[in-house]
């Protein structure tokens, strides 16, 4: 049974276009949700299927007409896929401008992919004071207005219902994170499929499947990890990377990955004004390289999580040219070293075809942890 559910996660994760075609064939409209935090609840409430776009492992060719080589390959590959028609049929793309490279993605998108309207989402960094929450709400109102132009309809009650659906999914994903930490039989590749597929399914479908998986896994005896690690970074979905994790026997007991657990840490609070409540969710979010935090609690979060989950080490998976992560890395490294937690960094890229350097680095790290 577990293997059947895993198969489904894998199929969805490996072929998002098939999912998109399926939804469109069902008469649904798809809106693309770019990294890092897009108000999927709002898109969902307005009658669209939100589908995550985090690029793909592909050669960058046409996007070079727009992007200098030193922009991250996530953004470049999103643009590449857009230009080449991989997202054809989408009603719009929502791109939040939480890092400098994402700002440029929206601007380039307008000219490179004219058939799919660009909807900007402007978030505040001073997101916690009342004036910050109001500004977030104003950003959501603008997104809603643009989504109405794309055929959607805003309704407060519908958003409240979508907020609930997303909170339920968050809860399932948090529970999954706890369960996976105690079940080392689930591989890194499988773990990646579960998280990645969440971007390509409606949250109702994904929640049901995750809950089913959890109940199946919990029927098994807990299996202790031999090499428990915490993984941190923006994206860890490269099959070659997960193959190395699994081949070397690393078990991911917790992640601080933007495309994985960072998505599910914060719920929308209750409130009569559903859009204001959604803005309050953003205000409550922390522990991420693209969200301003003077005290950098993310660093402590990683150290404390590694301790709590009894991880033997921390692996930083650095997406090449991601400067928000590169700044945080120095602080994470120092904090881990201070806490006596071994830490290593491997650099990955959407265009990478040879992972030998990553393998060598992780082999050495494994030797270090096994001493």
């Amino acid at each position: 049974m577990t293997s059947e559910i895993m198969k489904k996660f894998h199929e969805v994760a490996a072929d998002p276009r098939a999912q998109m075609d399926k939804y469109i064939a069902e008469g649904k409209k798809v809106v693309l949700a770019a990294p890092v935090y897009t108000p999927e609840e709002l898109i969902h409430s307005m009658g669209f299927v939100p589908m995550g776009v985090w690029g793909a492992d592909t050669e960058i060719d046409r996007a070079k007409e727009y992007c200098p080589a030193f922009l991250c390959s996530i953004v470049q590959s999103i643009l590449e896929l857009g230009i080449k028609g991989a997202y054809d049929g989408a009603s719009a793309i929502v791109i939040p401008s939480l890092c400098d490279t994402l700002k440029t993605l929206g601007e380039n998108w307008k000219y490179a992919v004219k058939d799919i309207p660009f909807i900007p989402m402007t978030y505040p960094q001073n997101r916690k004071p009342e004036y910050g929450i109001r500004f977030t709400k104003a950003g959501y109102e603008r997104v809603a207005k643009d989504l109405e132009a794309a055929g959607g309809k805003f309704d407060n009650a519908a958003l409240a219902a979508s907020n609930e659906i997303y909170n339920k999914h968050n809860a399932a994903m948090r529970k999954l994170d706890e369960v996976l930490a105690e079940h080392a039989e689930i591989t890194a590749a499988e773990r990646s499929d579960i998280y990645k597929s969440a971007f390509f399914m409606t949250k109702e479908e994904h929640t049901a499947l995750v809950e089913e998986l959890i109940s199946e896994i919990e029927k098994n005896e807990k299996t202790a990890a031999e090499l428990p690690v915490v993984v941190s970074g923006i994206l860890t979905d490269a099959p070659a990377l997960n193959e190395i994790f699994d081949g070397l026997g690393f078990s991911i007991v917790a992640d601080d990955v933007a495309a994985q657990s960072r998505q599910y840490r914060t719920d929308v609070p209750a409130g009569d004004d559903a859009m204001y409540a959604l803005a309050e969710k953003f205000a409550a979010m922390d522990n991420c390289s693209v969200l301003y935090n003077q005290e950098k609690p993310r660093v402590d979060w990683i150290v404390e999580t590694a301790k709590a989950r009894e991880a033997k080490g921390v692996i930083i998976v650095m997406t090449k040219f991601c400067d928000p992560e590169e700044f945080d890395y120095v602080m994470i490294k120092k904090a881990c070293e201070k806490a006596g937690i071994p830490v290593t960094q491997v650099e990955i890229d959407r265009q990478m075809t040879r992972f030998e350097q990553v393998r060598t680095n992780l082999e050495t790290f494994k030797d270090l942890l096994s001493m």
Binding site: E65, Y66, C67, P68, F70, L71, S97, L98, C99, D100, T101, K103, T104, G106, E107, N108, K110, Y111, A112, P120, T122, Y123, P124, Q125, N126, P129, Y131, G132, R134, F135, A138, G139, S289, V290, Y292, N293, Q294, E295, K296, M318, K320, F321, D323, P324, E326, F327, D328, Y329, V330, M331, K333, K334
Partner: protein
């Protein structure tokens, strides 16, 4: 063999704009060091943070971007970047940030020492990289950081929501500083400061606008030096006076038929991007030797902080070059190119600046098309000398020149 005799630098007239502007820029560093000695608060401030706040509150300021540019221009960019990289900072990170984080560790650099800060004033209307850089400074130096968040504006106009948001933060920042240093905001002083800031900006815009004359009464590379005062001191009376002197000199240059561009002006270009500080001489010489005058840059427009109300001031800070969408950024450049009879666009693809360079290929295509001018780009960096090749620069400039010649 005769020894090479170095020419003594020409004495600078103390009544000239060059002298006045150089003195203001230099004094800013000295004044902050003096303030520190006296136990007064010193802030490290990002370049487009509203100067009206520290100036009104009497907080001494240091601008790390200016410091990094100075260090790079004096040849120490790589040495400082090496220090940051040894700490674990990737060489992908903005070189200004690497130089600054290295300085925070070493607390000295003979090429440009500065007073160490008691607070960090961060504004991200230039880039979000600034937030990460200042977060790390705050951690490394264990001092408070105040962020005035001005998000990238995807729309052409500045809407009321962003003005309300930034306006609220303005006063929040003021109150935080009052509490931190037990100082008081003075509305009268604020009014004075805004008056000087507007005077400086008006004079700067008018002075740079003198480039509409052919030949231009100035060498555009002058602006790269003079803008330091617009960054650091535009809210001071002496800055307003010095900028007015600059305007007067450019007008006089035109009347006398002279220019600070000391070659025959054969071609007029717009230079796009931050200066390549480690190779300022090489980049300048490559143009000058061909009779190419860089008559304008977006900096000519960047410091137009001329406003008549609080909301207009906030809107001006929301409209700085890196905070605006492609269309608005493009139209500002097209206007400069047309006003100043520009014949070619030379783009610095700055390895340090993802935001500035990230939609430049598309924008420069549109500018070239709208103005009917050729566009050439070269790879470089604002402070890390390892990312520039003089041979590539030379080839690209030569190519640009040949097309400009063919277009004549």
């Amino acid at each position: 063999m005769a020894e090479e005799v170095k020419k003594a630098p020409r004495p600078v007239d103390p009544n000239s704009a060059k002298y006045k502007l150089g003195k203001i820029a230099g004094d800013a560093y000295v004044n902050a060091i003096e303030a520190k000695k006296q136990g007064k608060p010193v802030a490290w401030v990002s370049s487009n943070f509203p100067v009206e706040i520290p100036e009104t509150l009497g907080i001494a300021t240091v601008y790390p971007e200016n410091q990094a540019a100075g260090i790079a221009a004096r040849g120490a960019g790589e040495r400082m970047c090496d220090v940051a990289e040894a700490e674990g900072y990737s060489n992908d990170i903005c070189a200004y940030a690497r130089v600054s984080l290295a300085y925070a560790k070493l607390k000295e650099c003979p090429e440009q020492d500065v007073a160490m800060p008691d607070v960090l004033l961060c504004c991200n209307n230039i880039c979000n990289c600034m937030i990460k850089w200042y977060e790390n400074l705050a951690q490394e130096l264990n001092i408070p950081m105040i962020i005035l968040d001005i998000p990238f504006n995807p729309d052409y106009e500045v809407g009321q929501a962003i003005i309300d948001y930034v306006g609220a933060q303005f006063w929040d920042a003021v109150h935080q500083l009052e509490d931190l240093f037990n100082i008081k905001w003075d509305d009268k002083k604020f009014e004075e400061v805004t008056g000087f800031s507007c005077r400086s900006s008006k004079a700067w815009l008018a002075a740079t606008g003198e480039a509409h004359w052919t030949p231009s009464p100035f060498n555009g590379f002058d602006l790269l030096n003079h803008m330091a005062v617009m960054v650091t001191a535009r809210g001071k009376e002496e800055a307003a006076e010095a900028m007015e002197t600059l305007l007067k000199e450019y007008k006089e240059n035109h009347e006398k038929g002279v220019s600070t561009f000391r070659e025959e002006e054969k071609y007029r270009i717009m230079f796009e991007g931050i200066a390549c500080w480690p190779y300022l001489r090489a980049t300048s010489k490559g143009l000058k030797s061909r009779g190419i005058n860089m008559v304008t840059t977006i900096y000519a427009d960047a410091f137009g902080f001329d406003y008549s109300s609080f909301d207009e001031m906030i809107a001006a800070y929301c409209s700085v070059p890196n905070a605006i969408n492609l269309e608005k950024a493009r139209d500002k450049r097209i206007k400069l190119c047309k006003d100043d009879s520009v014949e070619g666009l030379l783009v610095h693809t700055n390895r340090s600046c993802k935001l500035w360079s990230g939609f430049m290929p598309e924008m420069s295509r549109q500018i070239g098309e709208a103005c009917g001018i050729p566009v050439a780009s070269f790879d470089g960096d604002q402070a890390d000398p390892r990312n520039f090749s003089e041979a590539q620069y030379d080839t690209r400039v030569q190519g640009l020149m040949e097309i400009m010649e063919a277009n004549k």
